[in-house]
Symmetry: C2
Subunit: 317 residues, 2 copies
């Protein structure tokens, strides 16, 4: 059986992951999910990327909004507003159920990885979903004009003001299973997530880079035609990557990390939107339609990427 | 201006309090509310009696259910159920807004009394509502067959198994304003709440009994025709009070506490249901219709009780 590990942030990563899970045999996929974006809000421990992955794999997510649950209601937040509480981070009523159960379990001392496994089982997910760590690793954003902000304060509350640097506070060990899943994987896929704030946090966890350096690693570009599919990535690349936003910038970012890819960088391959091949230096390139419009699209793309990775593993790409 | 302090538990106390607030001038009433029933549940700090008082005074409460908010929905708890979380203590979606805002403020270090004042102001309550304490005082129930249970575990989760003793864990100081409100009051009213688990916790707070011993104190009987208007009180009285459930047993309970009432017990007066006068020894008795069916009923009863207390204060009852 082909075994795959997928490193994922939120929306884009979750959709691609869903395609991979549907394209392979049950038990073939382990998702390793960014938790650098986690926040404590209104007394609750919220894991936006884990939740997006869980809701997406369980087919409970709201595709239009891009986060949270389908058919969601907002009565609790309306009450919070009436009572003068903070409403900049919106939590739906059903979504609150997740945060309540998780927070209570964390307060009892259960590790996030065990809680995540329980929640995913409860909604019928067959893939293994792991947080990158059970510890605290916080993605902190140094901004040009507003000092240092925690990730959600930066992205949601302040609407992504100009970034000068991304840092990760805390150096917790990987969650149980993370390094093993990478070691056992035939290849590792990096979802079309923001490299700076969604994938790099996972790469910052002790042992992850070393484990990846032994593997065939294929990334999907989150940049299509010079623009981010979602979020503020395109504005971050010129400052953090020192070049215009492009699939080539994504290749350059990951290729600076040692691995067994082209020129001994991390990436064996990069999957880009057709027309974006120019400027990608280093990894082998697969050009396709990488913006996933529906579930069929996710599975189609996953199959293409898996085939590409297999050919790379056999030295045929 | 007549100044009144009302000691209150949940439903019955809150309804009577609402009548008192509507019967008097704005600013005349301070409610001192039991917090011995508070619980941490699903990571949230829940104050059932404070919430019932707040919702009742703001006319937001669900009269039929007796707790929580009118027009409530239950999506979050449905999600908790799906995810295998505990559902024995039901929290509505709008109600969750209260717990979220309060819990977040407590975690920031704001005292419960300050939070309560803010929340009450936000929903337009003019009366002053004080928790009995900003500290932890937990009503613990020794049961005959199930060991010691925290109050809500006993009442809600286990459905009130036979009690052998009620204890209060923790001896925190009164919340700011509690002793002053009693000292300034022309009289103090004890709502028709369970004496053992709703009023006694307030009386256990340091300085409260001493402050009450200087005052005209009038209680409303929570027992009508030998039965509790609500809850397991009637079953508790034979064991904890050593006699059959009756208005007389309520009088005997409070009269054992020193005060300036009849025979130097706590109560100057007791308000009972017409027909329940027999067996009340000690305090002056006012017989009326004390089961409050609607808001008019609350105000009518409050006026009768206030008149009774005034006459007692003037030595005319």
């Amino acid at each position: 059986m082909t075994r795959v590990a997928v490193l994922s942030g939120g929306v884009g990563g979750a959709r691609f992951l869903d395609g991979v899970v549907r394209a392979l045999a049950p038990g073939a996929v382990t998702a390793i999910v960014n938790t650098g974006d986690d926040l404590e809000h209104l007394g609750l421990y919220v894991c936006p990327d884990l939740d997006t992955v869980m809701y997406t794999l369980a087919d409970l997510g709201d595709a239009e909004r891009g986060w949270g649950l389908r058919g969601e209601s907002w009565h609790a937040m309306d009450a919070v507003r009436t009572l003068g509480g903070p409403t900049w981070f919106n939590l739906g009523d059903r979504d609150l159920g997740t945060h309540l159960v998780r927070t209570a379990a964390l307060r009892r001392g259960e590790p996030l990885s065990a809680i995540t496994a329980r929640l995913c089982a409860a909604v019928g997910i067959s893939a293994r979903v792991l947080p990158m760590t059970d510890g605290a690793c916080r993605t902190m954003i140094d901004t040009r004009d507003q000092g240092t902000l925690a990730f959600q304060d930066w992205l949601v509350r302040e609407r992504a003001p100009a970034v000068t640097r991304v840092r990760f506070e805390g150096a917790p060990p990987p969650a149980p299973g993370v390094l093993g899943a990478i070691a056992e994987a035939d290849f590792v896929l990096l979802g079309p997530s923001n490299p700076y704030v969604s994938v790099d946090p996972i790469l910052s966890i002790a042992g992850v880079r070393k484990a990846l350096a032994e593997k065939i690693v294929v990334a999907l570009s989150p940049i299509v035609g010079g623009r981010a599919v979602k979020g503020p990535l395109a504005e971050m690349i010129p400052i953090l990557g020192g070049r215009e936003a492009s699939a080539g910038a994504i290749a350059a970012h990951y290729s600076a990390i040692p691995g067994r890819g082209a020129d001994r960088g991390l990436l064996a391959g990069l999957v880009v939107e057709r027309g974006d091949e120019a400027g990608v230096v280093g990894p082998a390139v697969l050009a396709s339609e990488i913006v996933m419009r529906d579930r069929d699209d996710r599975v189609r793309l996953a199959r293409e990427v898996l085939g590409f990775a297999e050919r790379l593993g056999e030295g045929r790409a």
